[in-house]
Symmetry: C2
Subunit: 246 residues, 2 copies
Amino acid sequence: MAASSSRSATIRPLLTDRSDAVYQGLRRAIIEQALLPGDKLPEDAIGDSFGVSRTLVRSALTRLASEGLVEQRRNRGAAVASPSLASARDIFDVRRQLEDLAIRRLAGRLTPAQAATLRRHVERERSAAGRDGPESIRLAGEFHILLAEMTGNALLVRYIGEVVSRCSLILALYARPHSSDCAVSEHARLIEALEAGRAEEARQLMEHHIGAVQERALIERAPEGEQRLRQVLADYAQTIRGEAEA
Amino acid sequence: MAASSSRSATIRPLLTDRSDAVYQGLRRAIIEQALLPGDKLPEDAIGDSFGVSRTLVRSALTRLASEGLVEQRRNRGAAVASPSLASARDIFDVRRQLEDLAIRRLAGRLTPAQAATLRRHVERERSAAGRDGPESIRLAGEFHILLAEMTGNALLVRYIGEVVSRCSLILALYARPHSSDCAVSEHARLIEALEAGRAEEARQLMEHHIGAVQERALIERAPEGEQRLRQVLADYAQTIRGEAEA
DNA sequence: ACCCCCTTGATTGTATCCAATTTTTGCGCG
DNA sequence: CGCGCAAAAATTGGATACAATCAAGGGGGT
């Protein structure tokens, strides 16, 4: 559809947040593993897909790059970022620290409505946990974003949103697919501790939870042969990519 | 070839990071208070000043907006951000948490060379402390960025860089000018604690230091009459701006 | 046959142009 | 003299066009 004659026949949707649409679309595609780390992101092709010009695509790519989801190299185009294991560790370190702030802000201050919202979300996670698709990863991340939003701290929301995205990317790169169900119960226990005002317990739960996620990402498994592992996994990603394109 | 037609008479400096030049220039102007919160940032005028087209200016403005230094409103142009007191508190909260991570990473792990670099920087701060110009604010911020860089954590560097910039903006907005000398000695003591490996002391020093910076920003002084204070200060900024333009 | 250089094609970087929206100016009216 | 409304000017949003750069393939030389 759309198509018809030129572009004036269709009512322009809103005339601005079309760049947001590109941004959201690409972001989701990356997080849900439809686009794999290393995949090239040519401006023309993306623009054609979304029906916008390179201008808006470029804006979206720049935004994604500032969040660390894509890499932009001078005159060589953009590509889905493939974070190294070293930078993955850095990201998890920062994430731990930011989530700790969120927990301290929320412990004992959760309204019943907020708790209910969180529990509803965990329920959705639980129902998605069966199929180990990428939806699981996305929902798990959104739980943390929900927590951040409840602090009312806009900057914290932005930062946690970013690190969660990047962690999703890391998981997509390094984690084995069938392993994210236990996270659901961890989320549930976290809600309980927050609601009961047991701040220290909540902090430790979160600390342990992030640690578990990190471990799931195989980071702990390659303390030395890091370089070799990266090579292997890069090849593996290459294979999948080839299949997808064919 | 490459022709000497039209504008190619001048050797193009590097052909890409010209947008970076715009970004850096604007950023510095904002942090050093040459541009005050609320000042409009028209794309044309900026482009003329820097000798680039609106395209690159837009890119720079977007980047600055993503860091919170400018506000971009739909169809109404960009302006230097004027963070509210509420968001200022949020920013300081996040900053405390991020700086704490940096300190924990550095305590007891500072190389002699790093310590020397830091001391050299503090010396520059000391010499700039006399005149209470904006250079003082900038140098104080750069000390924290230096610390972040020494952790080797690129994400932490980026985040601390952002919050430091935004704190500079907040100080420019709310702080009285003649009050930032004591920070220098706090920086010096922090270096000592880090070098000696007294992690807990270093953490508390930093905590206290950020608290002092925050207090200097008058945030604690306006727990209630917030709205009124903002109005007053907006008027004050208006006056200064008028003088500068005349 | 292999390697190097040059040409060709694809893709990005930047400027300019048109459309759309906001803001200002000017004017008539109460 | 102030207020609302309309037209104009200024400014931004987005697309297109052109220049520059990078990746690859093809001839010629050794």
